[in-house]
Every structure is written in C-alpha cells, then in structure tokens.
Symmetry: C2
Subunit: 317 residues, 2 copies
C-alpha cells in the first residue's frame, strides 16, 4: 500500500504520528515524548527525523499537525477559528508552516475559540480534530450531542448540525497532578493504592468507594477549595485512609464536571466520551452515579477517521 499522508497529534508533552495509506488504512504509527515543550527551537529537525524514520514515507508527503504545536509555546502560533465555523470546513483552514523547506506541504490545524455571554471565552487545540473525526465517523446528523474529552484540560462540547455550539474546559487533570505533586495533600495522594486521574495507575479507581464518595460529595456542589481541604481533614482525623485520598480527590474533580453538567438543562441524550480507556472508565462511573447514559468512543479510531478525512481531501484532484 502506498503511504499518502502523515497526521500528527502534537501535544504539550507527547506526540503521536500516523502514516496513512492511499486507501485510508494505517501504514505505521509512532508515539514519542517529542512534545511541543521538548521541541522548542527544533520543531523542523524533529519532524524531519520523524519522517526519515519511516522508509515507507517520502519526505514530500503532506503533513497535518494538530494540538499545541499551533500554540504560542509551539512551532508557529496559529489563530483560533471562531465558534460559528462549520467543523466540516476544518481542512480548508489549515495553516502552512512558514518554516518548511520548498516542496513540502506541512500544515497546522487551527484551534477553536468559543465566546459566551459576559466576555466568557473558552478554547481548544487538538480536540477540534478529534471532533472532526467524530463528525466523519458518525455522520453529520448522528454526531449531534454532548461530548467529553477528558485529560489535563477536560473538554465538554456540544455538536449541533456540524458546529461546535458549546465548550467548557475544566482544569481537572492539571489540578490533580499539582495537588498530587505539591502541597499538603501530596503525601496522602502518593500513598499506596492512590489512583491517578492523569492517566496512570487507574486500576480499580473507577469502582473504588472513595472515588464514588468524591463524586457524591462533588454532586452536592461544594466550593472546590473547601472540598479539597475536607480530604485533608478526613485524613488527619483518621476518617479516611491516606491511601484513599487520591481516588477521593479524583472523584471530587471529575465529579465536579458531572455536577456542572447536571445543573444544565437536562437532556435525554447520552454523553459521549472520547478518551483513553482508564479515563473513560472514571467517566462511566460518574455517569452511573448520575443516572446518565454514556457512550465510549475509541479515541484512536476517532483520530484515524480525522486523518483519513483530511488525507482524502488532500488527495482530491
């Protein structure tokens, strides 16, 4: 099969590159730690080395990059598209990399910006490409609905008639990592048995009573800084085992997203999760706790659908 296209999900700390064949199948994949932070000042060399590492790939293959590679901390700052833009038009808004050698088609996917009432604003970079993939995988009508893309910055999105109409980002994974590495909760959250909302050591956390207790506490709508101190107070008074603190805090943080979703007009629709299995399991536990339906979409399949659709657009005469 002929390699035809390279799609790269290029985040802050990680990068996943996919070599797509002319028939839309995956020819090869590579994931590494050359994220935007690690590549500062050497993005071009890093991309050239990546392509050179694939004997199947001609250096002239078109490359499309999504994620923080287009942020100010990335290779080239690419302006956000505004909320009203139809998601299907994403391939028309790719921005050529100024720093590319002659004859190369290297382009960056713009992020998305949504403005709300009273000056509210929210942004994404990278997730728009996953949503573009969902649109292609599910079809425009069936893709209507509510999505959650969990992670460092968890995104809750509404797709409506092929447009992103709502976006709310929660600093869930980042705050979990900060609390776990620093500060007064850190030692308890590193105790044996601790879960990790940022993607490691999740085994059993979704079903852990402490995770669910955190979700239940979050459902009461407490001020988060108070609920977090509550975790410490429970540990120092012996009401909670130190080993349970990480799962409880994970439940508080992810549960706060669900409590927020429940405060919005109730809809008889499933919440679709696009994320790795361990994070999807945590969200599934929250959905059960709130009596909501949940559909898990395979994040890699979604991403591939996006690259395949972009490649097809590229290969059109």
């Amino acid at each position: 099969m002929t390699a035809a296209f390279i799609g790269i999900d290029w985040g802050t700390t990680h990068r996943r590159a996919t070599l797509v064949g002319s028939d839309g199948a995956i020819v090869a994949e590579r994931a590494d730690g050359d994220g935007a932070l690690a590549c500062a000042g050497r993005f071009r060399a890093s991309l050239e080395a990546l392509v050179a590492g694939w004997p199947e790939a001609s250096p002239a293959l078109p490359v499309v990059m999504a994620g923080m590679v287009g942020a100010t901390i990335g290779w080239q700052a690419v302006p956000y598209l505004e909320g009203g833009t139809p998601l299907s038009e994403l391939p028309r808004h790719l921005v050529p990399v100024a720093d590319s050698p002659p004859g190369r088609r290297w382009r960056i996917v713009p992020g998305w910006c949504l403005r709300g009432e009273g000056g509210a604003v929210d942004v994404m970079r990278g997730e728009e490409t996953q949503l573009f993939g969902a649109l292609h995988l599910l079809g425009r009508d069936a893709s209507d609905g509510c999505y959650v893309l969990p992670g460092t910055h968890s995104k809750w999105v509404r797709l409506q008639a092929g447009r992103i109409t709502e976006l709310r980002t929660y600093m869930t994974g980042e705050l979990f990592a900060l609390l776990r590495q620093h500060g007064t909760l850190a030692s308890a959250m590193q105790a044996p048995g601790a879960g990790d909302a940022a993607g490691q050591r999740h085994d059993g956390v979704a079903d852990a009573p402490d995770f669910l207790r955190g979700v239940a506490e979050a459902a009461r709508g407490p001020v988060l800084t108070h609920a977090l101190f509550g975790a410490r107070a429970q540990v120092v008074t012996g009401a909670m085992a130190p080993g349970a603190a990480a799962a409880y805090v994970s439940g508080l943080l992810i549960g706060a997203e669900w409590a927020d979703a429940q405060r919005r007009p109730s809809r008889d629709e499933p919440v679709r999760v696009i994320g790795e299995p361990a994070l999807a399991a945590l969200h599934a536990a929250c959905a059960r706790a709130h009596g909501r339906r949940l559909e898990v979409l395979d994040a890699r399949r979604i991403q591939l659908a996006a690259w395949r659709a972009m490649a097809a657009e590229d290969l059109q005469p």
Copy 2:
C-alpha cells in the same frame, strides 16, 4: 518589668514568639523561619536557642505553643479537641511536651475538630488560639458572630456563646501558590503587575479591576476548575493581559469563599477578619462587592490577648 511567659505561634513555615511580662505587656517579640518543617528532628534545640536568645527570659519560664507544632509533622502530635468544648476552657487542655527537660513547663495548644452531617469534618491548628484571643478581647457576648482567618488555609468560623459552632476551611492560599508556581497559569501569574494572595506584593490588588472581576465571576458560582481555565482562555485570546491573571485568580479563589458565605442563611451581622492587613484588604473588597459589613481585627492584638489570658491563667496561684 518581669518576663513571665512565652507564647509561640509555631506554624508550618514560620514562627512568632512573644515574651509576655507579668503585667501582660509585650517584653519582646521574635519572628523567624524556624517553622515546623524546618525544625523536624530539632524542635527542642530550636526552642532552647530561642529562649537563650532573650536575656530577659529565664529558661524556666512557662512556654505555650500553638499551631502545626502540634500536628503529626510537628514536635508532638496533639489530639484535636471536639467542637462542643467551650473555647474558654482552652488553657485547661494544653498538652505537656514529652520531650522537655525536668522543671520546664512546655505545652502545646490542641487544635479543634468540628464534625458536620454526613461524615463531614474540618480542623484547625493555631486559629483556635486566635479565637480564644478574640473571646478575651471582645468578651463572651460580643464575640458571637462570623470570623474569617485568611491565609494558606482560610478559615470561616462561627462563635456562639463562647463555642466554635461552625468551621469551613478553604485551600485558598495554597491553591493560589500552586497555580502560580506550577502549571499552565504560572507564567501569566508571574507577569509584572501580578498580585499574591499568599501575602506578598498585594499593593493595589484589592482595588484592581481584575481582582474584582474574579470576585464577580466567583459570585456566579462556577466550578472552580472551569473558572481557572477561563483565566487561561482569556489570556491566550488576548481578552486579559497576562499581568492581570494573578489578581483575577486571587479574586476567583477568595471570591469563592464569599460566594459560599452568601449562599448560607443571610445574617445581618458583620464578618470579622483576623489577618494581616494585605489579606484583610482583599476580604474588605469582597465584602463591599457583596454588600456585607466587615470589621478588621488586628491579628497581633488578638494573638497578644490570647497569650496574655494564658499567662494570667498560668500565674494564678
């Protein structure tokens, strides 16, 4: 004047020692960085050096220590008193230091623990001594009411008939410091013009439009992880100057305490702040934003009233 008593507010990172005369006046004061963390394994030597540094103080003087010195990370873990205990009885519950030389009266003040419905629990260490001081300074009847003791872990307390009947702790200062030092908001929060809710560089923050904008946003009751990402989204889209992020986040965090207070049964009473002037000014701005009355109590006067009352109890035959 004869030195008669040593009171020490011994926190996690700082220590303030007060030498009280037999007439209740301050003979000398010393503040240093020998907090509980720095003194691990050498509390006794550190206290002996402190006393030896005061020519006015006999080594046999009674010493009372409040704060994290009585926590598991401190000199000696001292159990919490339970909520119902009258605050006036605090001097009867001081716990002798096991590691004291013969003939010494070294004691640690126990912290306070309040239990609520559904297993809720909250704790303080050090603030009970300040509240004991307020009780003595204001008198038992006049001391009834709502207090806020801002800082790393901000405490909201209700005193009623000489008892602590409510306690809510918010991880305000700690979260502010974490966000400022680490993570995606850190660079914006360190930009010139940034305020510091943990006590430094507060000049003008209380009146800054960005602080007040954060307070107003917090009043809408958003999920904090979402509001924090909102600060980032405003910076990356140019809606907020990077230099404004620290004041805005400070407003979000302190404002969340006030929004929580406003959700409780409304009371026509002032909120009393016991804290350093810069933090008191931030709370005064929140009180104005919410149309609440505020009284600032001088934290050093409160602390001295506590030591004076404890000294008087000690000097009784």
